[in-house]
């Protein structure tokens, strides 16, 4: 499987290298023109560098039904999805969750069940706010490993990726370049800020880029919320619940709102975009992942809004259950794309230099 899709991507990349019309769209084409022959690792790197903006497809004089049959966004998407599955451990798990939204929903349900059951079985004697339903110690006992172990799994995968593409030890400047590219989502800007070709075919739009950055920055804010909460808890002995003007809430509420808007936006665009320009087999899993992120952020916001009501235990279980599912699925869901893309951007910064 892997060999065939890499071979097909290589065939297309070689035709692109003889044409070069798309050089100005993104980082993929300048990376292609630096090479003449493409090893498997080169193709994997190009695939992870591609952000699926689709500019090249709609501009392509060789797109199907032309006999050259160039659909580079799809060819690279197939290689990309395959690389995440191939390099993950255990690989079968990644295949299941990448392909299937239903599997993601099942995982979510398991997450709920675990949290509900734990809350029932280990209800604390005392405690305030959320900790009246689940002790802080128990939360940490569940979520610390649920967060750190998947991260460790991703780190192992990234190390294998780095070996496969022949990466060198990154310098500070490479990281800065990658952060800038990701921070502005440069590879979805069409090269000149006009955006990408997604939901309205050959017309450019910045919607997908904007929604994606809402999710990205919303996620980082939510992460900052959790981190500051941890620091307040351990560093200053200040326990949740926190007021609206505390750091965890100042980060968390806007973060949650951004993620909600961003995920709804992305899902809406994804329904309208042409499936055949991506890895069609993982469409369901990608959509399921967007839905999961939406649920995580919405349940968090609702939980905050419901403070002091009888809904808190139920909402707490739903929120924590979805967060648990999200954490555990990080190495096996679309979530890994962020890690691989970043690595690919770092590698491209090295090759450019």
């Amino acid at each position: 499987m892997s060999t065939e899709i890499i071979q097909e991507a290589r065939r297309q990349v070689e035709i692109c290298n003889a044409c070069r019309y798309c050089e100005g769209y993104c980082q993929v084409f300048p990376a292609i023109t630096r090479e003449r022959a493409f090893a498997d690792g080169d193709i994997t790197q190009l695939a992870n560098l591609c952000h699926n903006c689709r500019g090249c497809y709609y501009a392509c004089q060789y797109a199907p039904p032309h006999e050259f049959g160039i659909n580079l966004p799809a060819a690279l998407a197939e290689v990309r999805a395959d690389s995440w599955e191939r390099l993950s451990w255990p690989g079968g798990l990644a295949r299941t969750f990448q392909q299937s939204g239903v599997a993601l929903a099942a995982a979510l349900t398991v997450g709920f069940a675990v949290i509900f059951a734990t809350m029932q079985a280990l209800r604390p004697e005392d405690g305030e706010g959320f900790y009246a339903y689940m002790s802080h110690t128990l939360m940490v006992a569940i979520f610390a490993p649920a967060f750190l172990l998947p991260l460790a799994a991703i780190a192992i995968s990234l190390r294998d990726y780095w070996r496969e593409i022949g990466g060198e030890f990154p310098r500070w400047s490479h990281l800065v370049d990658a952060v800038k590219a990701a921070g502005r989502m440069r590879n979805l800007d069409g090269g000149q800020g006009q955006g990408c070709n997604f939901e309205q075919e050959d017309r450019f739009s910045n919607k997908r880029r904007a929604y994606h950055q809402m999710v990205l920055y919303g996620f980082l804010l939510a992460f900052a919320s959790t981190s500051t909460g941890t620091i307040l808890h351990y560093g200053f002995g200040m326990e949740a619940p926190y007021g609206l003007f505390s750091l965890p809430k100042l980060f968390g509420v806007p973060g949650g709102i951004l993620m909600c808007i961003g995920t709804v936006g992305l899902a809406h665009l994804k329904v309208r975009a042409d499936k055949s320009l991506g890895a069609a087999r993982v469409w369901g899993g990608e959509m399921g992942f967007i839905a999961l992120l939406f649920f995580v952020s919405l349940s968090g916001l609702v939980l905050y809004a419901a403070t002091g009501t009888a809904w808190v235990p139920t909402l707490l279980a739903l929120h924590l259950g979805s967060v648990l599912a999200f954490f555990l699925l990080m190495p096996y869901s679309k979530m890994v794309h962020g890690f691989y893309r970043f690595a690919a951007l770092v590698r491209d910064a090295q090759l450019k230099a």
Binding site: E14, I15, N17, A18, C19, R20, Y21, C22, E23, G24, Y25, P30, T33, R36, G55, C56, Y58, A59, C60, Q61, Y62, A63, P65, H66, E67, F68, G191, Q192, Q194, D202, R203
Partner: protein, 468 residues
């Protein structure tokens, strides 16, 4: 076609634009912005729209000082000299200079109508002063113009082949157009003919070139069949350009019959020996830098038996030129390579050995005329003559690839078409269908898009003024 569409087809229209490439779109957009109701009839289906424009990559543009992605200056006289050099003087100076002067105003207009430019592509730095490259190439330009046309409310019909342009006396009255197998008569107050040349009509090419045309490949769209051009010729419209000539370059012999576009070009010739079917060399492969010689090799190969050539290099040269779309045929010996290419092994070996014996020591410089020439062999190779002696050996087959035809409608400075008795009152032409009025022979990179844009805008403007 549905009844709604059939009703929509009838407009009513002020201006009918026949064709759907760059020139047609420039004309339609210009006329619509003058407040006219415009219909575009494109013979290709939507995914193949845009004629040969979809294969183009840049626009040659005069400019005083830096303009958009173009650096320095490119003045009228230099541009005109460049043109005269490739056409060998076979050009209408008045029309050519007008086109060149108008090109400068075109570039901002193109940008204002959605076209995006990018700096010169890698490997084409020599063009960064003269040619503005389209971001994504010609199909992206075509897409941008169609989006603009849709937003302006221009009527657009695909798979709509105009079979007849009806002229009564000196006035156009209507076109006959076939859509979904049904012929419709569509009236308009003026017509712009922008439907390209006839290079995709192989029978016509064969009549013009003789039977060898059967072995030609057509680099561009299969939809440029010259139906409208022929219809106008049948009605004794005034023409220009040699009917027996077409512009052809040497491309990879494995390219598709149609639509291979840019990626099928081969840049290895200057570093190779080129032999024909019989294994004989037939021309100086190192005459000049490749961009200047690219065009003549189409004709050279067309004159060889079976219209085929074989460019042979060794491993010393494999990385000296732009990669091409098909991998080369590879072998460790010349005999084996010949066998894989389908030519006589002993003969190829003898030819290459004779060539190698004629090579002289000296400094090899792939990017400039290095004067490294053979001695005592016919034909001489005057630059880059290094022995072909380091396996593996690589071979590419070469075929003539037709870019465009020269025969076209003769137009005035205002893009107006003439009939047997003088100008037709409400008929204009733009793009490849009239490019012969300016390009008598040869080709200058990016000039086809210049002619299309300049004359498209003029035709649109004049047609709009006429129907006022």
């Amino acid at each position: 076609m549905s009844q709604t569409n059939a009703a929509a087809l009838q407009g009513p229209w002020d201006i009918i634009v026949v064709g759907g490439g760059n020139a047609a779109l420039c004309a339609a957009i210009t006329a619509t912005e003058q407040g006219k109701r415009v219909l575009i009839l494109e013979s290709a289906p939507k995914h193949m729209r845009g004629g040969n424009s979809r294969h183009t990559r840049n626009f040659r543009c005069m400019h005083h000082g830096p303009l958009s992605v173009l650096i320095d200056s490119y003045e009228e006289d230099e541009y005109f000299d460049d043109l005269m050099r490739v056409t060998d003087g076979k050009t209408d100076e008045n029309l050519a200079r007008m086109t060149i002067r108008e090109s400068e105003a075109c570039l901002p207009w193109m940008e204002a109508h959605g076209v995006r430019f990018q700096p010169s592509l890698s490997g084409t730095l020599s063009l960064s002063r003269t040619n503005a490259f389209f971001l994504g190439g010609g199909k992206a330009l075509v897409n941008a113009y169609y989006a603009t046309a849709e937003d302006l409310g221009i009527g657009i019909f695909y798979d709509a082949e105009v079979t007849h342009v009806n002229i009564e006396g000196s006035r156009f009255t209507h076109v006959d157009v076939t859509i979904d197998g049904q012929s419709h008569r569509v009236e308009g107050r003026a017509v712009v003919l922008a439907s390209g040349g006839f290079q995709a009509d192989l029978e016509w090419l064969t009549r013009a070139w003789g039977p060898s045309a059967a072995n030609f490949l057509i680099r561009g769209t299969p939809y440029n069949r010259g139906v409208v051009l022929k219809d106008m010729l049948d009605q004794d419209a005034q023409t220009v350009g040699d009917p027996t000539q077409c512009h052809a370059v040497a491309i990879d012999g494995r390219a598709p019959k149609f639509d291979g576009g840019i990626a099928t070009r081969l840049d290895c010739v200057p570093f190779s020996v080129v032999v024909n079917r019989d294994g004989d060399r037939f021309y100086d492969e190192g005459e000049d830098v490749w961009p200047k010689r690219y065009a003549i090799w189409g004709r050279l190969v067309a004159a060889q038996p079976d219209q085929v050539g074989y460019s042979i290099i060794d491993s010393k040269s494999i990385n000296l030129f732009m990669p091409s779309v098909f991998p080369p045929v590879v072998a460790d010996t010349l005999e084996e390579l010949a066998e894989k290419l389908g030519i006589d092994g002993a003969k190829l070996k003898a030819t290459v050995e004779a060539f190698n014996a004629a090579c002289r020591p000296g400094d090899f410089h792939p990017t400039e005329l290095d004067g490294l020439a053979t001695e005592g062999i016919e034909p001489q190779k005057t630059n880059w003559a290094r022995p072909i002696d380091t396996p593996p050996y690589y071979g590419y087959s070469l075929r003539p690839g037709v870019t465009f035809t020269y025969l076209g409608l003769k137009v005035s400075e205002t893009a107006q078409v003439s009939g047997p008795d003088g100008p037709l009152e409400n008929v204009w032409a733009a793009g490849e269908i009239m490019a012969g009025s300016i390009l008598g022979q040869g080709y200058l990179a990016g000039f086809g898009m210049t002619i299309g844009t300049v004359f498209g805008r003029i035709a649109g403007r004049e047609a709009a003024a006429h129907v006022n």
